[in-house]
């Protein structure tokens, strides 16, 4: 099986290049991350992040044959050869497949990703009907892998101004939560032409989300809520 992998180590390389690797006797039902680990056994200098191996920790987001995804849940059989593996697009490369995620997490932190409640805390749980709780499905499962945001052209063009699909999905996760009491603050933080409204409904985020979530829909909901709020 043939691989073409993006390599760049600023200590030794003047610039990035693609390196070819071959693996023999590979079971095609194997995941890409396992293949990368085999390659690393041949060439220890190849660097990538990974951990849980089952698509829940969000460490191993990479660009695979031009599409973002998680290495650990991408079966080799689904991929055309040579399998081209690159770092997430639009992010500064630290080394090989490892990118600097700081800006991504800055956007996440900026949407105040925590529940805000002003009422005194009851001594028991706050009640929430199953229907109210259902509104959080498809939102809270985000693993912050960055596949969506770094595959979004609006984010490539406005990486500082536009919050990006992952952060906005989380913003909606709190706006949609019946227990949260910071609706006005959350909406006003997203006002202006960039933070929310740079989304052009290109839908790349939906296409690549490895958890099957729909940030574009969440962004639409925030827009609707904002309109209602203004009117």
């Amino acid at each position: 099986m043939r691989f073409s992998i993006y390599r760049y180590n600023p200590e030794v390389n003047g610039g990035p290049y693609m390196q070819e690797y071959q693996l023999k006797g590979i079971d095609p039902s194997m995941m890409l991350r396992d293949a990368l680990l085999r390659i690393k056994e041949q060439d220890e200098t190849l660097v990538f992040r990974h951990s849980c191996g089952e698509g829940v920790c969000g460490s191993d987001a990479i660009n695979i044959n031009g599409r973002n995804g998680l290495g650990c849940i991408t079966p080799l059989a689904s991929l055309k050869q040579p399998i081209e593996v690159r770092p997430l697009p639009g992010m500064p490369v630290i080394r090989d497949l490892v990118v600097d995620m700081d800006r991504f997490f800055e956007h996440y932190r900026s949407i105040k990703p925590y529940l805000v409640a002003h009422d005194p805390e009851p001594e028991v749980e706050r009640l929430q009907t199953p229907e109210q709780r259902d509104r959080l499905d498809g939102l809270y499962e985000c693993i912050l892998c960055g596949c969506c945001t770094t595959f979004c052209p609006s984010f490539w063009w406005n990486p500082d101004g536009f919050r990006g699909p992952a952060a906005l999905l989380q913003s909606w996760r709190f706006l949609a939560d019946s227990r949260d009491q910071a609706t006005a603050e959350r909406l006003s933080e997203l006002e202006g032409p960039y933070r929310l409204f740079r989304c052009r409904s290109i839908m790349n985020c939906v296409e690549v989300c490895p958890k099957g979530l729909n940030p574009a829909k969440a962004i639409g909901r925030i827009r609707q809520m904002m309109l209602k709020h203004i009117l």
Binding site: N9, P10, E11, V12, K40, E41, E44, T45, V47, F48, R49, H50, S51, C52, G53, E54, G55, V56, C57, G58, S59, I73, I94, R95, D96, V98, D100, M101, F105, R109, K112, P113, Y114, L115, A117, E121, E123, V124, E125, R126, L127, Q128, T129, P130, Q132, R133, L136, D137, Y140, E141, I143, L144, F174, D177, R179, D180
Partner: protein
Amino acid sequence: MSSLRKRKFDVLVIGAGGGGLRAALQLARVEASVAVVSKVFPTRSHTVAAQGGINAALANALPDNWHWHMYDTVKGSDYLGDQDAIEYMCRAASHLVIELEHAGVPFSRQNNGKIYQRPFGGQSQNFGGEQAARTCAAADRTGHAILHTLYQQNIQARTHFFDEYFAIDLISNGDGIILGAVALEISTGEPIIIEARCTLLATGGAAQIFRTNTNARINTGDGMGMVLRAGIPLQDMEFFQFHPTGIAGRGMLITEGARGEGGYLINKEGERFMERYAPNARDLASRDVVSRAIATEVREGRGCGPQGDHVLLKVDHLGEGVVARKLPGIRELARTFLHLDPANTPIPVFPTAHYTMGGIPTNRDGQVVAPFSLGPEEAIPGLYAAGECACVSVHGANRLGGNSLLDIVVFGRAAANHIADHLQHSRYHLPLNEESIERALGRLARWDKRCDGESVAQLRRELQQTMEHYCGVFRTKDVLAEGVERVLALEQRLQNAVLTDHSKIFNTARIEALELENMMEVAIATVCSALAREESRGAHSRIDFPERNDEQWLKHSLFFKQGRRLDYKPVRTKPLTVDSFPSKPRVY
């Protein structure tokens, strides 16, 4: 030395899973300056993978109280758990789960709006009566929900994070007082000294020492390795939990919640075999019991599949709706890794290394304790541990499902409370002992060696295979003795292992080498402790000593790296306020 970067905080927390983050949050509330060092971004920590839920006797679904929870936990531990710590945990549970809800955890809900609770293994009403439903769940992604919420709360609290820093070793004043750690900034390869008046280890478990395991790649026992190198023993390391339902041959976890929701196991004859092993609790017996039952079915030729090497977990009779709503995460896993939908096809499962019951010995305030000169439980000044890396011991010889997420929040918070108190009394940073810094840097420098030698990956694979073969579900003296020999031989070979990548920037090969050193320490402690314990208790099953032997073995093991010495200390059988639960035969 002066050239090394140095940072100073009141408290250093190593590890950003649920235990470390809960502690950091508590410390932020008393305005202590806290540094959280984590080798991965916090939400990548392995708490994220916990599925089924967190135990608390909220009595939302069925009658319950903390005292029944305590009974179940003591019995589940095969009476090796310390009953003062267990009482403390079970009493704190409801309050802390409510607190998690207030912090925003998206728990699933009952029709009346309260937190959803499901039945889990080893749970009973009224001290061994009917099945209880004590496990609070956010679908089957409870760990994810809790970890993300705790991280979010820490963002609000403006906790100082050192993301992608690898802790190398503890540093001290040369007089046994722990004063922080030397860490490596992974992205630059630069070491840094982080000084702290108190250090909390929350570095998680070590099931990566086994080939087939449910654990993330990062679960390499780093805190345990640090502690052993600092001359402090590890407790009860022979007790490793094998989860009954890992995906066969692969290891990914299928939550006990699958059985809690009504799923059950069958052998190749289609028989519900758990009825023979645990007539009352059946598929919801304790994990050690179910794992042994599965392994026995397979050994006796009743396994499924062409190799007869697994059994089947059925949830297809529950209907698509229940699987979609209550078990969406494991459905996704089964689809991805097995190309099957559990809503209509049973899942092939086999016991898989899952959880480290043993660990760094602590008291219920999270202080690390060891027998030195003053008694069996002498606190090591400045050093704390919480969560899976610690051994309080609330899990004893076998942990109950749903008690692990509880352990991390209860004892993360308890340790932080004690630290907050300690900070009041020790106001100033003490001078560091240069030698302890040199020793930590020596660990790094050793891997700069450029010559021929074996690779880390090869030794890692052999270690995992050896542990699986010689220290698995069923154990005997001969097999364990050979295991000790083999692991020690691997340790020797590790001395001559080399890296081919010597670059500084994001050198993951170097991190894996440092991790393997920690895994090796933990593996030696595990197999040596297992060889010494000549009885069967909880997860430690000796074919040559099939019975529990309270007279000789109702005691905790302590393994010291120096001389590979074993010592023992009594179990704390006296609870805080209630009567002890005396040891009884354990049937489910």
